[in-house]
Amino acid sequence: MARDERIAELEEKARRIRAHVVRIAGMSDCHTGGSLSIADMLAGLYFHTLRVDPGLPGWEGRDYFILSKGHCVPALDAALAMRGFFPEDALTTHLQLDSIISGHACARVTPGIDVSTGSLGHGLSIGVGLALGVRMDGAANRVFVMIGDGELQEGSNWEAAMAGAHHKLEGLVAIVDRNMYQTGPTEEMMALEPLADKWRAFGWATRVIDGHDMAQIVETLDALPFEKGRPSAIVSRTEKGHGVSMSIHQHMNRFDEAQTATMLAELGQGGGEGGRN
């Protein structure tokens, strides 16, 4: 019972993240598809799993989260705001002069972001370095890196994957947002399958889950690390644009006022500011 409530609560967080993404797309161009596909995982991470302190973003004991697919920062910004790193109102200033809400993840302007990303294929190597540093300190911080499936075509990811396993970085977690699209269909442009087998072959303890099933997300995150002495990989099977009909398989959207309202209504998040909690 308590667990079901918890899941329902996290699902509601995910809906709110999606609503924020839709509102941002109502203000400016927005990488909607890949932001919406990670909303559930981000809700699970920021409201269930990650040890972070919004009052002290630089807290040494924090778990690190790197959004390697940095173009999907609208969803991350929403999660950070909802978690209390900055007011949710700030999200309405996306791309405005001197806003803290950037078009790609920017550690210099946005509280709670540790690593600036946007150029694909950087996050996992930095994650390996962070995890090695944590181990040198004898500390227990965990490092989560969210990677796009298209992004995995960059060879740097596989260099990092090799290093993560070689150095037995048990605290390192790669989450692949397997939404099957980049700017076009991934398997047609440069196929990745068999993807889970690739991670296994590189020495990662790997699980494939439904990235829109909150119960599975929670159960998976609770099971980390999956194996002793190995980094963990989660292939999170998702739908690009999930939950917002006009964003399905879309890389970017810009909604007008009417479209924004319709998409918010789809999410059951219509009406003004979408409520605050």
Partner: protein
């Protein structure tokens, strides 16, 4: 840009069977080629290093590949492949930056600023570096790349469609700057997206009684020595303006020519002054704050006057 470039590429491909295209998630540029010659258009995925290595391999087999990616990534991520497999290998590869020239991405973040594309590409021995200003120059640069043996970089910035005045369109020669406006007091040298700033500044300066020449330095390498030295002799100040770090790009190229010739004419380089243009805001906001605007040119000139 994608369409103009794509259409010219197909035409060139009809004339020359060696021409082919490789894309790294920039398929929009190769759609037309793929429709006409499916086997001569290759998608490589989001993998710039592989893109250039594969292009070098195609060139090693006698092909003339156009390798297309986004400006910041297709120059930075695979710089060593460009330098070694294309430059050192003397391979006939045409690298094309299709999206995101200069600081076109502005408030979307510094990861997407191609603020060193010209500098990096200039560093590669034998590489020709061109930044077309509009559709006409895009077409001409693409033709030139196809017919010139050797490494070539074309930066399609996309920022200044249909900009050039018609009379200036009649000539385009690699390595020859285009005089967009005659002037006798100062010379403003611009490239790609900063040409409109240069033209606007020249107009404002005229009203202030300063006669400004405007040079479109579409070929940053080899830089037009003759045009630069003529400007040095005939005008009292040279201002360069670029959406790029002032180190090693347009300002750097002009400065090298001036210094080596002992010209002595003062040079003011506008562009990113060894900083990241890190801020959120619109394109115009970012340019204004980092001194890449018509106003900045006018100020630089008036300060020297």
């Amino acid at each position: 840009m994608a369409k103009w470039f794509g259409d010219v590429l197909v035409e060139l491909a009809r004339q020359d069977p060696r021409i082919c295209g490789v894309s790294c998630d920039c398929w929009g540029f190769l759609g037309a080629l793929a429709a006409a010659f499916p086997e001569r258009a290759v998608e490589i995925g989001i993998a710039e290093q592989n893109l250039i290595g594969v292009a070098a391999g195609l060139a090693a087999r006698g092909k003339t590949p156009f390798a297309i990616g986004m400006n910041p990534f297709v120059t930075m991520r695979c710089f060593e492949q460009i330098r070694t497999d294309v430059g050192y290998g003397c391979r006939n590869v045409k690298v094309v930056g299709g999206y995101g020239g200069g600081i076109g991405y502005a408030g979307w973040g510094c990861t997407h600023h191609a603020m060193e594309e010209m500098a990096l590409m200039r560093l590669v021995p034998t590489m020709t570096v061109v930044m077309p200003a509009d559709a006409y120059e895009t077409e001409m640069a693409t033709r030139a790349a196809a017919t010139t043996e050797g490494p070539f970089y074309i930066s399609l910035s996309g920022a200044t469609m249909a900009f050039m005045p018609p009379e200036a369109r009649r000539t385009f020669h690699v390595g020859k700057a285009v005089t967009l406006r005659e002037g006798s007091d100062v010379t403003i040298v611009a490239v790609g997206p900063t040409l409109p700033d240069a033209m606007t500044a020249a107009e404002i300066l005229t009203r202030k009684g300063v006669s400004a020449r405007v040079l479109n330095m579409h070929t940053v390498k080899p830089a037009d020595r003759e045009a630069i030295l003529a400007a040095a002799r005939q005008t009292r100040l040279i201002v360069t303006i670029e959406e790029h770090t002032v180190i090693g790009g347009l300002g750097g190229a002009v400065g090298e020519v001036l210094a080596e010739a002992g010209a002595g004419t003062p040079l003011k380089r506008l562009g990113l002054q060894d900083v990241f243009a890190c801020m959120v805001g619109r394109y115009e906001d970012v340019r204004e704050r980092f001194g890449i605007s018509a106003n900045a040119v006018v100020e630089a000139v008036m300060r020297q006057a």
